[in-house]
Amino acid sequence: MPLLLAALALVCLGLLMVYSATSIPGVHQGLWARQLAWAGIAFAVAWVVAGIHYRAYDALAWPLYIVSIGLLVLVLVKGSSAMGAKRWLDLGPLHFQPSELAKVATVILLARRFDQEKLDLRRFWPWFSALLIVLVPFALVAKEPDLGTSLTFPVILIAMYFWAGMPVGQLLLGLSPVFNAALFFITGGLWWSAGLVAVLLGAARQRLTTLIMVLLLNIGVGYALPHVWNQMHDYQKRRIETFLNPGEDPYRAGYQIIQSRIAIGSGGLKGMGYLKGTQKGLAFLPMRHTDFIFSVVGEEWGLLGTVTVVVLYALLVLRGLRLALVARSGFASLLAAGVVSALFYHIMVNILMTIGWAPVTGLPLPLISYGGTALVANGIQIGLLQNVAIRRMEL
C-alpha cells in the first residue's frame, strides 16, 4: 500500500507540475490534459500488470525479451528520429519507445535466469550468459543513440548480480575495467589504474586463470577506450565533456543547467508559489515539462517541494527493496530488485542533472515528467512491484 500511495502522490504532483510548466502561452500549452489521459492509462496498465500472477511473466520471459529486442532492431531500421537519434516507433498517433519495454523484459529474463536452486555465479556460464542478455539491448539502445537509457541496462545487471548472490570481490573485479577507465579519465595517470587493478587482484582471491582474464580485460579496455570515444556521436562526447567540465558546450547543455540551477535555487525554502515561477515564465527553461520538470518543482515549491518529492521517491525505492527481501519466491525477489534498480537510476540521474551534479542525459523523471510511453512504462514497473507485494503472503 505505501508503494502505491507514494506512486500516486508522485503522479499527482507530476500532473500539477506539467500543468504549471505548460500553462504559459506557447507550443506546449494544454499538454497537461494529454498527460492526465496518459496517467489514467498508466494506472489501468499497472492494475492489469499487478493482477496477473508473476508466474506468467516468469514463463513468458524469453518471448517477451525476444519481442522487445525485435522492436529495438525495428526502431533502428524504421524509427523516427529527433536530434539525430532514432528512439521512437510511430504507431499512428502514438509514439512508442521500445527501450522502455526492453528494460522491463530484461529484468524479467534476468530474474528467471538467476532464480535457480544451485546458481553459482562464480562459474563462467551463469554470469556470462546474463552479461550477454544485457549486452544485446544495451548495444541496440546505445546505437540509437541514447546513452543515458542504455546505461540503465548495466545498472540493472549489476544490481541483479548483487542480489543473486555474486561475491562482492568478483563483482568489483568484473567492474574493474570501468573503474579503471574512470580513474584514467580523471587522473590521466596510468599508475593509479595499475595500482587499483593490483589491489583488486590481490584482494579477490580468485583462480589464476580468472585473474589473467581480468587483467587482459583491463588492458583491452585501455586500448578500446580511445576508439570508442572516436566512435561516439558529437553530442554524446559533448555531454560527457559538459559533465566533466561545465565550461564546455555552454550553448545548450550548459545553458540548461545554469537555468535549471537558477530556477531551483531561486525557489529558496518555500518557493515562489504554484504557477508563479518566472524561469519557466518566459520559456527560459528549455524542456521544462519533460527532463527539467524537477526545476519547476524547485522554483515554485522551494525546498519544501523538492524534499517532499525526494522523500516520496525514497519511500518508493525503500519499499521496493523491502519487497525484494520479503518476496515469496526467488523470481519475485529478483524481479523487485531489478525494477527498483532501474527506477533508482533514473531518479538519481535526473535529479542530480537538474542541480548540475550529473550530465544532461535526457532521462525523464519517473512518474512526474511529461511523456506517455515513459508514464505507462513506469505504470508497468509499479504494477510489477505491486504484483510482488500482493503475493508476498502466498503459500
Binding site: G165, R238, N245, G247, T278, S329
Partner: protein, 624 residues
C-alpha cells in the same frame, strides 16, 4: 522456488547495504538541494528576479587564406551587425511588445527581412537566451537609425562581428568559395557540432572543404545584465570559454599565375582554365567564367540577386573548372597516344594506312578535319597534325577496354580527389556503359573511332584535362590535384595521395608523346602557344557540341625539359582550340616566363579578337 536459507541470510545483509546506499543517494540530492536553495538561494533569487544571465557568444575569427607566397587571399574584418537581445524576465511586458506586428514590421524594415523571419529569430532568441543576428554588416545609415530609435525598438542593438573579406574580388572566386551565415535548417543538423545561430559556414570552394580548419571554436561568457539590458558583470561559476581562432591556410595557388590566367580569360563568357604544378599536382591557378564576387555573400544578398546568381542562364556559381564536363575533342589524342604506347599496339615510327581525308569503317565514312588528307604519317606526326584518320586506326587497334583502362589509370572518368567540393566525375565509357544505354549488343564498334579522337560520349572536367597533361609532363606519375599546401597550426596535415594508379614511368611511352606535343606547338596546330626561348608542349582540341557552337580546348605544359606548369583551357561555344585557347595559354606563359620587356610583343590583339588566327606566320591555321 524459494531462495535457499544461506541466500536469504546473505540477502538480509545485502538489503541493509542497499538501504544504506539508497539513503546515501537521496541524502546526496538533499545536500545538493540544501546548498542550492538555502545556502545559495539568495544569490539565485537575485539572478532569477530578472533572469539576468545571458550567454554571450564570442565568435571565433575564421582562418585567413594565403597563396603559396604568403599573399593574402581571404581574411576577416570587423563589421557592425544588428542583433536582437532577449529581455530579462521582469520586463515580460516589453518582451511581449517584441511580438507586436508594429514592432516586427519596423524592425523588419530596418534589417530588410520579412517580419515572419524576424519573428522566428526573435522567438528562438527568447527560447535560448542567445542574441539573434538580424543583419550582417549594416551600412552606417542603418546603424544611425538603430541608435536613434533605441527607445522605440527595445532589444535591438548594434554588435561588432567579424566579416569575411575577399580583397581580390572575383579573383579565384570559385576556388576560394564563399562563407555565409548558417541557415536555420543547417543549424538543426549541425547544432551538435557546435554551430550557433549567426555563425558563418563555408558553402563552396576551399571555404567549404576546409570548414573544419577555418571555423575555429566559438567561445562564450555568461553575462549578468541589468533590467535595461546593460552588462553588469560576468558570471564566474559557469566557466566562460575563450574563442579558439580558426586555422590559417596556405594554398598552392600562386597569385602571380592566377592574375595572369584571370587576365587572359577576362573576355571569356563561359569557360574555365586550370594551371597545375606537374611536380606535385598543386593548383597554381584556376578560373571559371562567368565569375562572381564572394564578398557579395558576406554583405548579405538580396533575394533577387541570389536568384540571378543561382538561376541565371550562365550560372556564375557553377565552378566550371571542376564541375563543368566537356567532350575533350582532339586534346584526348594525347590520352589515346599514351594508351597505345603503353599497350604496345603502335610504335612511334609506325605508319598506318595513309590519310586521304577520311576512313571507311562499318559501312560509314569517318572524316578527318583535314579534308584534303594528311597522307602517310607516323604516330608522332599524327599527333602533331592531329590527324583523325590515324587515330581512328589506333582506336581500332586498342579496342574499347584498351582505351578505357589506361584513361582510368591516368585518373579520368573518376573524381581526381581534389580538395574542393562537388567535383564532377566526367565519363570514360566502357562496354557496360553502352550496354546500359543502348542495350546489350545494340551498339557498334564504330563509336570506338569517335572516342579515339575525343568525340562521342567522353566527358572531362578542365581539371582532369590539366591533370592528364601534368601526368604526361612528369612521365606518367599519378598526381593528386590539391589546392591547400599547408594548414598553419596543424602540422600533421598533408595533401592526400593520388586516387588513380598512373601508367608505367617508361620513357618509351612518354618521350614520344612529349615530343609530339612539343612539335604540335612548334610547328603544328598549337602554334599560338609558342613562347620565345621556352620549350612548350601542347595539344589543341575542338569539341563538337550538339547544343550549339563547338567548344574550344587547349592543353599544354612548359618548359618541356623541366615542367613547371600544366595548363588546360576550355572556352565554351567559341570555335577552334588552336585559335581561341592556344593564344590565351601562350599569353599567360609569356607573362610567367618572359621578362616584362619581351612581353610587349605578345598577341594582345589576338585575345580581343578571338576569332582571328593568332599566329599567322606558323602556316597552320588551327587544327581539327
Amino acid at each position: 522456488m524459494l531462495p535457499s536459507k544461506t541466500l536469504r541470510e546473505l540477502r538480509r545483509q545485502r538489503h541493509r547495504l542497499l538501504v544504506a546506499l539508497t539513503l546515501a543517494g537521496f541524502g546526496l540530492t538533499v545536500v545538493g538541494l540544501l546548498r542550492l536553495q538555502v545556502a545559495e538561494g539568495q544569490k539565485y533569487a537575485k539572478l532569477a528576479k530578472g533572469n539576468r544571465v545571458r550567454p554571450e557568444i564570442l565568435r571565433a575569427p575564421r582562418g585567413t587564406i594565403y597563396d603559396r607566397n604568403g599573399e593574402l587571399l581571404v581574411d576577416s574584418a570587423p563589421s557592425f551587425g544588428i542583433v536582437f537581445r532577449p529581455f530579462p524576465a521582469e520586463s515580460a511586458r516589453r518582451a511581449l511588445e517584441t511580438m507586436s506586428p508594429v514592432w516586427l514590421a519596423r524592425v523588419g524594415a530596418l534589417v530588410e527581412l520579412d517580419s515572419a523571419e524576424v519573428r522566428r529569430r526573435v522567438n528562438f532568441a527568447n527560447l535560448t537566451g542567445q542574441s539573434a543576428m538580424l543583419r550582417h554588416d549594416a551600412p552606417f545609415a542603418v546603424l544611425a537609425r538603430v541608435e536613434e530609435s533605441r527607445s522605440e525598438l527595445p532589444g535591438i542593438e548594434v554588435q561588432v562581428e567579424p566579416l569575411r573579406h575577399y580583397p581580390h574580388g572575383t579573383l579565384a572566386a570559385h576556388l576560394l568559395g564563399y562563407a555565409r551565415e548558417i541557415s536555420s535548417s543547417e543549424l538543426d543538423t549541425l547544432r551538435d557540432a557546435g554551430y550557433v545561430s549567426g555563425d558563418l559556414i563555408g558553402r563552396t570552394g576551399v571555404e567549404r572543404s576546409y570548414e573544419n580548419f577555418l571555423r575555429g571554436r566559438d567561445g562564450v561568457e555568461y553575462v549578468v545584465v541589468n533590467a535595461r539590458g546593460r552588462r553588469v558583470s560576468t558570471l564566474r561559476e559557469s566557466g566562460a570559454r575563450t574563442p579558439v581562432p580558426g586555422l590559417d591556410l596556405v594554398l598552392t595557388l600562386d597569385l602571380k599565375v592566377q592574375r595572369a590566367l584571370e587576365e587572359v580569360m577576362a573576355d571569356v563568357r563561359r569557360g574555365a582554365a586550370v594551371v597545375l604544378d606537374p611536380r606535385d599536382g598543386g593548383i597554381l591557378a584556376m578560373v571559371s567564367r562567368p565569375a562572381y564576387d564572394p564578398s557579395e555573400f558576406s554583405h548579405g544578398l538580396t533575394r533577387a540577386r541570389w536568384k540571378e546568381l543561382s538561376e541565371g542562364g550562365a550560372n556564375p556559381l557553377l565552378d566550371r573548372s571542376i564541375q563543368g564536363v566537356y567532350p575533350p575533342g582532339s586534346t584526348f589524342k594525347v590520352v589515346t597516344m599514351s594508351a597505345a604506347l603503353a599497350r604496345g599496339v603502335v610504335r612511334p615510327g609506325t605508319r598506318l594506312a595513309p590519310c586521304t581525308g577520311g576512313l571507311n569503317y562499318g559501312g560509314r565514312r569517318f572524316g578527318c578535319w583535314e579534308h584534303r588528307g594528311h597522307g602517310s604519317l607516323d604516330l608522332i606526326e599524327a599527333l602533331q597534325h592531329s590527324c583523325d584518320v590515324y587515330f581512328y586506326q589506333v582506336g581500332l587497334r586498342l579496342g574499347l577496354a584498351g582505351l578505357e583502362q589506361p584513361a582510368k589509370a591516368l585518373g579520368l572518368g573518376a573524381r581526381t580527389g581534389v580538395d574542393l567540393p562537388q567535383e564532377a566525375r566526367g565519363l570514360i565509357p566502357n562496354a557496360a556503359y553502352y550496354d546500359r544505354h543502348w542495350g546489350a549488343g545494340l551498339w557498334r564498334s564504330g563509336l570506338l573511332l569517335n572516342l579515339a579522337i575525343g568525340q562521342g560520349e567522353l566527358l572531362l572536367t578542365p581539371l582532369q584535362l590539366a591533370l592528364v597533361t601534368a601526368e604526361v609532363a612528369s612521365n606518367g606519375r599519378p598526381l593528386r590535384p590539391h589546392v591547400v599546401q599547408r594548414v598553419r597550426g596543424a602540422r600533421e596535415f598533408r595533401p592526400a595521395r593520388p586516387v588513380q594508379l598512373g601508367l608505367p614511368a617508361d620513357p618509351a611511352i612518354w618521350q614520344p608523346v612529349q615530343e609530339a606535343m612539343e612539335r604540335a606547338v612548334a610547328a603544328g596546330t598549337g602554334a599560338a602557344a609558342r613562347v620565345p626561348g621556352v620549350r612548350v608542349g601542347g595539344k589543341t582540341g575542338t569539341a563538337q557540341n550538339p547544343h550549339g557552337e563547338d567548344h574550344a580546348l587547349f592543353v599544354c605544359y612548359a618548359p618541356v625539359d623541366s615542367p613547371r606548369v600544366a595548363v588546360a583551357i576550355v572556352v565554351e561555344n567559341a570555335g577552334h582550340g588552336g585559335s581561341v585557347c592556344a593564344p590565351r595559354a601562350g599569353e599567360m606563359m609569356r607573362r610567367l616566363f618572359l621578362p616584362d620587356s619581351l612581353q610587349r610583343r605578345s598577341a594582345r590583339p589576338a585575345l580581343s579578337d578571338s576569332a582571328r588566327p593568332a599566329a599567322p606566320d606558323s602556316g597552320v591555321v588551327d587544327g581539327d
